[in-house]
């Protein structure tokens, strides 16, 4: 398993899975998953649908109980999670949706509202604090979801195909936003996608999952410093990495392999 930092470097570790398996009733078990994510690293996870990408993210978040193996999480940090759909409470306005993690943690109300409005400003929605989810476009609702994930200042941010349902222009601006937010606070990020080019552009490392077991079968570095300028998409190194990931994905999906 190619990993930029050995797991023994405890202080540099955000989260790691070692030989983790998950079984659901009536289905063959998924895994074993081996994945180490260092502090401040951006890892993209690609794989066919049904390859257990969401399960992998839920394992990293501690939302899934493994049936075997071990999950190690850096202590003290919080985790942010962005789902495929914005997953907002439709009865609450944007600000209340974003204060939720702080409210649960018992942060005083005025402090929580201040931090939530700062987080909403950071995603460009400083003027939509009182809007309800039904009044927001898909892209704006996703930004609220992103603000909610960032409001606790997490050291680990998990994103489950967050932009899959958006049009390509909205998606590009959100990816720029994500890079900008990452530059400001450097959380470790694990980003699930089925878009190879998005993965290479966004991440420092791309992990390819086997289409049946969900086991990671390839771990490919994406060269160059983060974040990248938009023109990096024309760089030969980018094209090369896209080719490599696409080839690994094709072989991971080949049933005759």
């Amino acid at each position: 398993m190619a990993s930029p930092l050995p797991a023994s470097h405890g202080s540099d570790l955000a989260v790691s899975l070692t030989g983790v398996t998950v079984s659901f009733r009536g289905r063959p078990p998924l895994g074993p998953y081996d994945l180490t994510v260092a502090r401040g690293e951006i890892v993209a996870v690609v794989g066919a649908s049904g390859a257990g990408k969401s399960t992998l993210l839920r394992l990293l978040a501690g939302l899934e109980t493994p049936s075997g193996g071990s999950v190690v999480r850096a202590s003290g940090g919080t985790t942010g999670f962005v789902f495929q759909s914005p997953t907002l409470m439709p009865w609450a306005d944007a600000l209340t949706n974003v204060t939720l993690p702080l409210d649960i943690a018992g942060v005083p109300r005025t402090e929580a509202r201040r931090r939530a409005s700062t987080a909403l400003q950071a995603v460009g929605l400083g003027d939509r604090l009182t809007a309800r989810p039904g009044q927001l476009s898909g892209g704006m609702a996703m930004r609220v979801s992103l603000a909610r994930a960032l409001v606790t200042d997490p050291d680990l941010l998990l994103l489950d195909e967050p932009f899959a349902a958006l049009d390509s222009i909205t998606r590009r601006t959100l990816i720029e936003d994500l890079h900008r937010l990452w530059t400001a606070r450097h959380p470790a990020m694990v980003f699930v996608t089925h878009d190879v080019e998005e993965a290479v552009y966004l991440a420092g490392r791309i992990v390819v999952l086997d289409s049946r077991t969900g086991r990671p079968v390839a771990d490919i570095p994406s060269p160059g410093p983060l974040p990248r300028p938009d023109r990096w998409r024309a760089d030969p190194a980018y094209r090369e990495a896209v080719e490599a990931v696409a080839a690994a994905l094709a072989s991971a999906m080949d049933p005759a392999r």
């Binding site: 789902f83 997953t87 409470m89 439709p90 009865w91 993690p101 649960i104 606790t152």
Partner: protein
């Protein structure tokens, strides 16, 4: 405009046809009185009917309040514990499938014949209980599973999860349950009054029985008109309440 006009014209035509048919065929008034006779009975008996309607309305409302507190409260309580739900559900279903008429004599004995209206309230509440219990419970479970995961992620306790996620998510289904329960509370009150019988209560059901026993069919139909009006009024009340609560795009 035509939303009100079309049904009004239809009703007027039906009533005119009814009047004409009864008069030309010479149908005895104790079998089917003409609408004009029912109208006269409504005016003649207005004070008595109004008092009875008020009593039925009051009993149904009390029953509804009891059912809201017990059904909704029990649903919230057992939603906090899966084992409690498994334990309670068969009992709740048993209550639902037991015909109210069958337990009426027992409840009347318990309440005492001097307190027949209390028995009516209890029986109507028993009928209205299940839709509220079931509506609130299924509503509490209808929250987006990813939102439930988010509450897991941030380590929410049961009370935070209930107040911030499950209760708001339960609102539409609970209101649906309330709507069904309102109709059932009126039906329950009328049936219970029938069973308690012989003037122990003075609601609309007693007016129906009384008029029927004396072959005063016009008065019977007048009481029936009042009962239908009461049902419509309660339904409109619940709908207005539902609209007021859900106004802020709760369902998006």
């Amino acid at each position: 405009m035509s939303r009100f006009l079309a049904p009004l014209i239809l009703i007027a035509l039906l009533l005119a046809g009814w009047e004409l048919l009864v008069r030309t065929l010479g149908v005895p008034t104790y079998v089917l009185p003409p609408p004009s006779a029912i109208g006269l009975a409504l005016i003649d008996r207005a004070p008595v009917l109004a008092g009875s309607a008020l009593q039925t309305f009051w009993m149904a409302l009390q029953a509804l309040a009891v059912a809201v507190v017990l059904g909704g409260g029990l649903a919230v309580a057992i939603s906090l514990s899966p084992i409690a739900e498994q334990a309670v559900r068969p009992l709740a279903v048993t209550l639902q499938v037991t015909p109210i008429v069958a337990i009426a004599p027992l409840v009347l004995i318990w309440a005492g014949l001097d307190n027949a209206d209390r028995a009516v309230v209890a029986l109507a509440a028993a009928v209205a209980f299940y839709p509220l219990f079931s509506g609130v419970l299924s509503g509490l479970k209808s929250a987006d599973p990813d939102l439930e995961r988010l509450f897991d992620l941030y380590g929410a306790n049961r009370i935070q999860r209930l107040l911030r996620l499950r209760l708001p998510a339960a609102l539409p289904a609970s209101l649906e349950g309330l709507r069904v329960a309102t109709g059932l509370a009126v039906i329950g009150a009328v049936v219970a009054e029938f069973v308690s019988g012989s003037g122990a209560t003075q609601g609309l059901a007693w007016r129906l029985l009384e008029a029927g026993n004396r072959l005063r069919t016009a008065e019977l139909l007048a009481a029936l008109v009042c009962l239908a009006g009461l049902g419509l009024a309660l339904n409109a009340g619940v709908e207005a309440f539902e609209r007021a609560v859900l106004r802020h795009g709760h369902r998006r």
